[in-house]
Amino acid sequence: MNALAKTVTVNGVQSATLAPDLLHFVAELTSRNLTSTGQPADGSRLGVAVAVNSAVIPRSEWSGWELTEGDDIELVTAVQGG
């Protein structure tokens, strides 16, 4: 494993990442090209939210938000529900 890789937990599963910040990590997980505001570069809307260690991180703060070894990340979206 690359020495710069960090191990974090994403939706309950351990994963190693080289992403420099949360913005790049979310882009990686969703396979979307994101601008620094956390929205897709194609003008559509992403429709996901992120919590790190049980605190919601607004998309405007993803850029520059460095991941820490052992972070517990939840990535959620809308699913069918009453």
């Binding site: 969703t30 809307r45 429709g47 919590a51 919601v56 998309r59 979206t77 809308a78 069918q80 009453g82």
Partner: protein, 263 residues
């Protein structure tokens, strides 16, 4: 006022947003995304609930994109939360993911009854109101609690007709009527609806709207049932405003007594 004016001037306004349909659809229980899309269209709904769950690469954010493309406003819920803490965090995730301050606040006591936990509900509602959310509070059909939720800032109070998914209809119409009669915010009958007449009844009791999911998504023909509810909600709304006749102990002929032939 003619009928078309009556209908067009009858939007339900929440937080300054007019909703021309008084049927709020839940998306839960639909076997396929295509079927859900068709049922939503047939229902005429302009507001629909979703749950917040872990992202998977397989489904992505497809429901969000579907609702967005159908022009339907999204009401994220806090389904599956048992504590105020979980519900507040889930509401914040919904706000961030779906870019709306609106939240259907649902704090459940246990898996068996799925009934709201009133204490956790009140605590979560207070917190969410203070954080700028437009709270749609899902509650027991308790007139006292309904008023308390309004007083602490809920934008909409949503008493249940019967437990979630039971289709038992409105078990305590007297309570619903009492809640409506004292409310200064919109009252939405949520949960327990089984068929079209239940929705019409809710509206006749004076509710401002009806929220349902299972009754459509698990019907044998969801599209037909969605259309049935669309008409039922409209019928109930019109009836509630049209002034029903008083109930009487004895019959009252509608044909004239005078002028009968001597047979």
């Amino acid at each position: 006022m003619d009928l078309s004016t009556t209908l067009s001037a009858d939007a339900l306004v929440i937080d300054g947003i007019p909703l021309n349909s008084r049927l709020i659809m839940g998306t839960g229980g639909a076997p396929s995304m295509e079927g859900l899309s068709e049922a939503l269209a047939a229902s005429g709904t302009e507001l629909t609930t979703v749950a917040m769950r872990r992202y998977t690469p397989e489904t992505g954010a497809s429901l969000f994109q579907l609702l967005h493309s159908q022009g339907i406003r999204i009401l994220p819920n806090t389904a599956g939360c048992f504590t105020a803490r979980e519900a507040v965090l889930t509401a914040e995730l919904g706000r961030e993911a779906l870019e709306t301050n609106w939240v259907k606040l649902e704090v459940i006591a246990d898996e068996h009854t799925l009934l709201p936990d009133s204490l956790e509900l009140v605590e979560a509602a207070e917190t969410l109101v203070s954080r700028g959310f437009t709270v749609f509070a899902y509650t027991n059909d308790d007139p006292v609690l309904a008023l308390r939720l309004e007083q602490l800032g809920a934008a909409v109070v949503m008493p249940l007709g019967a437990p979630i998914g039971t289709g038992l209809g409105i078990l305590n119409p007297h309570n619903i009527e009492l809640i409506v009669s004292r409310a200064g915010v919109p009252i939405v009958l949520d949960a327990g609806i089984g068929t079209a007449s239940d929705a019409a009844f809710a509206m006749e009791l004076g509710c401002d709207a009806v929220l349902l999911a299972t009754a459509v998504t698990r019907a044998q023909d969801p599209v037909a049932m969605a259309a049935a509810f669309r008409h039922a909600v409209l019928a109930g709304r019109l009836a509630s405003r049209a002034g029903r006749i008083p109930k009487r102990e004895h019959a009252l002929a509608s044909s004239p007594h005078d002028g009968r032939a001597d047979l």
